[in-house]
């Protein structure tokens, strides 16, 4: 029997068990084949549940389980690294009609995915605390910055950070209205999320895209406060001009 026949039957719970698989008496494998079906489904759903705890909480565990079944048949893992499994989840949610009434869900998934990839991102040595102070004032505008591999921005038209926080931290305030951009960083080994104002988000996005400080400051952000946040989160690794 080909592995194609085996794999196709594995991913379709209603498909007949392939011929040529038997138990000890020579009887058809039947339920024995379902051990493999179950292992595959359980291991993949466990990976998704560990990866998207807030999405799961928002839709409820029973709904999430049913949705996982659809997701994993449509998007089986592309690689053996379960730490990467579920990268298609935000787009899947954005196009999944049964969750259309939760329009922020895809952005919450993007935030959870960002935290996961930040956790596994390459280590980086942060910029020396006094490095910016040593740049002459007249040269500051031309400075460009390199960012740690763990740094990510998750921009949303919804209060994505507040929603995430309200479902992860006890006693977090309820989310307010409005768009939010979440800044993910990894000072030391644990990912960390901060909310950026629209101006600050534009400033950081410009810097990450390679703009100089002067160019990025045109967004109208509070440059001192935003740079202070980036430095305290060890988001910047080097400066050049």
């Amino acid at each position: 029997m080909s592995q194609t026949a085996f794999a196709e039957a594995l991913l379709r719970p209603d498909a007949p068990v392939p011929d040529g698989l038997v138990g000890p008496t020579g009887a058809a494998a039947g339920k024995r084949f379902n051990v493999y079906r179950n292992n595959v489904a359980v291991s993949l759903t466990e990976a998704l549940e560990a990866g998207f705890p807030v999405v799961r909480k928002l839709v409820g565990p029973d709904f999430f389980k049913a949705m996982e079944g659809v997701f994993l048949r449509r998007h089986p893992p592309a690689s053996p690294l379960m730490m990467h499994y579920g990268a298609e989840m935000p787009d899947f949610l954005a196009g999944f009609p049964p969750v259309a009434h939760l329009p922020y869900l895809a952005d919450v998934a993007r935030l959870e995915l960002g935290l996961r990839t930040a956790y596994h991102a390459e280590d980086a040595r942060p910029l020396a605390p006094d490095a910016l102070a040593q740049v002459p004032a007249e040269a500051l505008g031309a400075v460009r910055m390199g960012f740690a591999p763990a740094v990510r921005l998750v921009a949303s038209t919804f209060p994505v950070h507040d929603i995430w926080l309200a479902n992860t931290a006890a006693g977090a305030p309820p989310s307010g209205p409005g768009a939010q951009t979440a800044l993910i960083t990894r000072p030391k080994l644990d990912p960390c999320v901060d909310t950026l104002s629209p101006a600050a988000a534009g400033f950081v996005a410009a810097l990450m895209a390679g703009a100089s400080l002067g160019e990025a400051a045109e967004t109208g952000a509070d440059v001192g406060a935003t740079l202070g946040l980036l430095l305290s989160r060890q988001a910047i690794t080097d400066i050049s001009s």
Binding site: Y36, V40, P80, A121
Partner: protein, 283 residues
């Protein structure tokens, strides 16, 4: 073919490493003399998993145990995955690398389970090609682990022990003998586990695995044991370990506990039981 400079695992108990035991292992390892990690969990680019692994590798010999190479695949091995494996091995210089006699990758995707193989000449040829490729790529010998079986292929022409002996003869790989898998497969396929151990090419065994299993039944009411790694090692598996060690002599013995992972004292107790089994055979 490969170089054998690397140290080997000590003939002592080891445990499958879980992050929640990081602090306990450093202050109270008990009889644990080495650790095993699942390679794929440490193939990220950085962060806490690799930082912890670096710290543990300073203190314990490490066994890197792959679960994703898909040695038995009909298709080619994933070269990018091999490259990540090489990067991990170069980073920590493990005392051992092992993988499974199984497949898990297909062009439908990675199926995240250890899927079974028919034991035929064609499968032997394919597995040998892949084992050789892994050993050449890593520059080290690998160990191949016997699977837990829930069913058999009517097309099989070789016993599992003959199959493994053939792969060893043709590739120079070593073997990882999972005694729990032997017990599961024998129960599920109504053979005697003692016969399997008696037929196993024990001179090539460089590591032994023990783990817990769950009990179920097939469509006809026959016992169907599931390799869950979610509970303590069953008594008949401990008894089979004694029979195995009597044939192999002392070997590195690993306790695998991957789901419903217990607090450290429970796992340490399992390791202590493995230490007593090892002491009995040494004496």
């Amino acid at each position: 073919m490969f170089d054998a400079r690397h140290q080997s695992l000590p003939d002592r108990p080891g445990v499958g490493y879980k992050a929640q035991h990081f602090a306990d292992l450093r202050v109270d390892p008990g009889p644990v003399g080495w650790l095993e990690i699942h390679a794929e969990n440490y193939m990220g680019d950085g962060g806490r998993p690799l930082a912890q692994l670096d710290a543990l590798a300073d203190r314990f010999p490490i066994s890197v145990h792959g679960v994703g190479l898909s040695i038995g695949s009909e298709g080619p091995l994933d070269r990018s995955h091999l490259a990540l494996l090489r990067r991990l091995c170069d980073r920590i210089n493990p005392a051992s690398f092992s993988e499974h006699l199984a497949w898990s990758t297909h062009n439908l995707g990675f199926l995240n389970d250890l899927l079974p193989l028919p034991y035929t000449a064609a499968t032997i040829a394919r597995v040998c090609d892949h084992v050789n490729e892994v050993q050449d790529h890593l520059g080290r010998r690998m160990l191949l682990e016997n699977p837990s079986s829930y069913l058999a292929f009517t097309e099989s022409t070789h016993s599992e022990t003959d199959f493994l002996a053939d792969v060893v003869a043709r590739t120079g790989c070593g073997l990882l003998l999972d005694v729990n898998n032997v017990f599961i497969s024998a129960t599920n396929l109504a053979t005697r586990p003692q016969d399997y151990i008696a037929a196993f090419p024990v001179e090539h065994v460089a590591e032994i695995h023990l783990g817990g299993h769950d009990e179920d039944e097939d469509d006809h009411g026959a016992p169907l044991l599931i390799d869950s790694h979610g509970r303590a090692v069953a008594d008949p598996v401990w008894a089979l370990l004694d029979i195995t060690l009597a044939r192999t002599g002392p070997r590195p013995v690993l306790i695998e506990w991957d789901t419903d992972v217990p607090d450290w004292p429970v796992l340490r107790q399992e390791a202590a039981r493995a230490a007593r089994a090892l002491n009995a055979v040494t004496a």
